[in-house]
Each structure stands twice: as C-alpha cells, then as structure tokens.
C-alpha cells in the first residue's frame, strides 16, 4: 500500500475525511464488536462450542466486551469533528430520499444516488446499529444479573438478545462486505484522507 503522505509530490489530491480521533473510535468499536460476535459464535454454534469449550471464560469476555462497546463512542463525544459527523448522520435531506428511492429500485447510477459526506444508507445503518447495540446491552444486562429482575423478564430478554444477535450478524456482514468492495472508503478510515475523484463520484454533495 503506497503511502501518500509525502507532501512534496502528491500524485492525486487527497481530501481529509476522518480525524485521528474518529479513526480510533471506529477501530476500537470494531474490535469490541468483533469480540462480541466471535465469543457469541463460540457460545451459540454447537460446532464452535465443542471446539473451544471454556464456557465460563468465553461468557466473561463476551460480557465485558459488550459493556465496553459504547465506551469509544461516548469518549469520542469530546471530539468536535466526531460530534459534527454525528450531526451529519442524524439529518436527512431531500437528496437522501432520492438516494433511498434509487436503492429500493436497485438503480446503481451515481446520478440517481446523491449523497453528502454520508449517503442515506450509511446514515440508516449508523442509527440502527447504535440502537440495536443498546438493545443488546440492555437485554444482556438482564440476562447477566438474573437475580435482580422479575423472572419473566429474563426469558424475554434472552429471546430478544438471540434473535437480534442473528439480525446484527447479517447486517454487520453487509457492512463489512460493502467495505471490502470499496478500497477507497477503507483507505479513508485507515489514513483519514480520500481521493478527490472518489469523493466527487460517491459523495457529490460533500464539501470538505
């Protein structure tokens, strides 16, 4: 991977997209979420459970990774750039409606998918995964501290935790799959800067 930080002779123009703080928020959240998913698989899938065993230890790791999952985002609120991006993720304009309609029609032309710094799909994903993680945290705590809650809550929490885990697994696979298909988007999160051509193509309304 050639480093383009060399300021003397930049071949292409790089636009700043993510600050150092934002990149670390994404990295640490990804590691914690990955830990949750891998330990969950070892607890849940019979073949993996048979291979790994050590149920008590795996449960402990899963619980603490889950508790820590919101920490990077909460700590990140100290960063002005991160707060600004949260605002961008929150607000939906008319171009987002067009983007969503095109996505539903499977219209892949760039002209019919206008996007600001984040496209509508990224905005929906961010909001949903944040909400889903909080539901997992809440139901997980109900399952963890079993003697503190009424008996019916625990079975119900397990039910929601199991099915939402499956849903998150599918959605997360989509998130990772789309990242794998777009090297420049990944470079943006690794180095903090993106190619100008890529930005004009994928995020035409973005004014960095």
């Amino acid at each position: 991977m050639p480093l383009r930080a060399d300021a003397s002779a930049p071949k292409t123009v790089r636009l700043p997209r993510f600050s150092r703080a934002e990149r670390w928020i994404h990295r640490t959240t990804a590691v914690l979420m990955g830990t949750c998913v891998v330990t969950a698989a070892c607890l849940y899938l019979p073949q993996l459970a048979e291979l790994v065993g050590r149920r008590e230890l795996v449960v402990r790791i899963h619980e603490w990774a889950g508790i820590a999952l919101p920490v990077p985002v909460l700590a990140g609120l100290a960063s002005r750039a991160f707060r600004a991006d949260l605002g961008r993720l929150n607000r939906f304009g008319a171009h987002d409606r067009r983007w969503l309609r095109a996505a539903l029609r499977r219209d892949r032309r760039h002209a019919s998918r206008p996007a600001d710094k984040f496209n509508a799909g990224q905005k929906i994903y961010a909001a949903w995964i944040a909400g889903a993680s909080l539901v997992m945290l809440g139901t997980g705590l109900l399952m963890w501290f079993t003697h503190l809650t009424p008996l019916m809550w625990r079975t119900s929490a397990t039910f929601v935790h199991d099915w939402l885990a499956l849903t998150i697994g599918v959605v997360l696979a989509g998130h990772i799959g789309m990242a794998l298909a777009d090297p420049e988007a990944r470079r943006g999160l690794r180095t903090g800067a993106v190619d100008r051509e890529w930005a004009e193509r994928e995020h035409p309304l973005w004014r960095p």
Partner: protein, 248 residues
C-alpha cells in the same frame, strides 16, 4: 417520508434536514423494548413454527436458529477426553458400606429403565419427548449400601472440572438415572457419553455429562454452575427465576 421538503436543493448544509437518524435509533430501542414485552407470545408462536419446520428440514439449519429445537453443546473445559467401553469406569464411594467400581459392561448388565420426558435447559431451550435409558441411581446406591451418616450425593466427571450434587432423597427418586442411552442410541461423546447423569425433574445442568464418580457425602456440596449463581435445588419451573412447565 418528508413531503414538505423542497425538491432537491443542490447545496444543503448538513445542519438542516429532518433528524431521521435519531428517530431510527429511538425506534430501534422502542422495538427492542416491545420485543421484550411481547416475547412470551412471540416465542410460543416461533417455537411451534420452527418445531414443525425442523421436522421437515433435511439441512438441519433450523437447529442453528434460536429456539429452533435440538440440543446445544456446553462444556466448561477446553477439551474432554474420550472414554470407550474398555477404559470407562464409574466409581461409587464415600459414606457407603461397599465402595464399587463399575465398567460399562457391568452397568449394561443391570436392569435398565427407559423414560421419555422433555429436556429443559436453564438458558431457555427445550427438547420435547426425549428418551433416556439407563440404571436407576437408587439401584446403585442400594447396591453399595449408604451408611446412616450419608445425606447427599456428589457427582464428578472425567472432563476434570464439572461437579454436581443432589440430596439423598432427590437421588433416590425413580426418575433419576445413570443414563447409557439417549434418543434410543448409545450416548455419544458430545452428549456426555458413554455415561451421564439424567435428573428428569430438574434443569439440564443437573444432568452431568461424562459421569465418572458418585460419592455419598454428609451434606450437599454445590456443583460447578451452582458456585456461579445457579440454584442447587433446580426443579424445572420452580427455581432459577424461571416458570417453565415441569418436565417430570
């Protein structure tokens, strides 16, 4: 979604627009809470549906879904040694008159009892109508002769870590077996074979897998999961904060 928006302004500042992101987040939280509230109803429906689907599913994929039916493998150690008919031994000792070691062949020669009941795990899954077959624990206890000081029974396993226990009264129940067969097949290793405990009226963690030792003691000593918060008297539907239908 937002019909009052002007059509496609080319340069919309990010601070404007509707806060849909927040609504999606709060909506997800709300759905999660609603899911917890309606879970008992949803779960009954799904269990019935998936139970039927699993019967007709040649791929076995439904078994991987939550409440999809079937057993799940839990072990507290990283690996469990395999024991065959040749090297398997079950020792019965402690406060007894005649400490005895049984081979698999010895156990097979004793009268066998077959029970068909539901299996209920404390984590929620239930497997209906599962046949277990083996020697009544009460028969082994009578054979070795429990001394008057004996009040409880402790079980140890050849995985080297798991332990369980019952009071003597619980251990003498007719629905407590030293099981050699499950689902009308010899017990496989992943189900705790060649020999496991089967305590029909209690949550399945009481039915210790890979049983290797039965020791009569003067008091109940909490087992592996019980030292980590589970109830010692684990009656299905009357312990561990659960209200499942009794299994025996």
């Amino acid at each position: 979604m937002n019909p009052e928006q002007p059509a496609d302004p080319p340069d919309e500042p990010p601070a404007q627009g509707k806060p849909i992101g927040r609504r999606v987040l709060l909506g997800t939280l709300g759905l999660g809470a609603l899911g917890v509230l309606t879970a008992p109803t949803l779960q009954r429906g799904l269990e019935a549906f998936l139970g039927n689907a699993a019967d007709k599913d040649p791929t076995g994929l439904t078994g991987l879904l939550p409440n999809g039916g079937g057993f799940r493998y839990y072990s507290v150690t990283s690996s469990v040694p395999h024991k065959s008919a040749e090297d398997y031994r079950l020792t019965v000792d402690g406060l007894v008159h005649r400490p005895t070691t049984y081979t698999l062949a010895d156990l097979r020669k004793l009268p066998q009892t077959r029970l068909v009941k539901d299996v209920q795990c404390v984590t929620g899954w239930r497997v209906p109508g599962t046949p277990f077959e083996g020697v009544r624990l009460s028969r082994l206890l009578d054979a070795v002769g429990v001394r008057p000081q004996g009040r409880a029974v402790r079980f140890t396993c050849f995985d080297g870590a798991y332990t369980e226990s019952l009071t003597l009264d619980q251990a003498r129940r007719s629905d407590v077996l030293v099981a050699l067969r499950m689902q009308d097949k010899d017990l496989g290793h992943s189900h705790g074979g060649p020999v496991r405990l089967y305590v029909a009226p209690m949550y399945f963690y009481k039915s210790a897998k890979w049983l290797s030792g039965i020791t009569v003691t003067d008091e109940v000593r909490p087992g592996y999961w019980e030292e980590r918060g589970y109830d010692v008297d684990a009656w299905v539907g009357r312990s561990n904060g659960r209200d499942d239908a009794p299994t025996s």
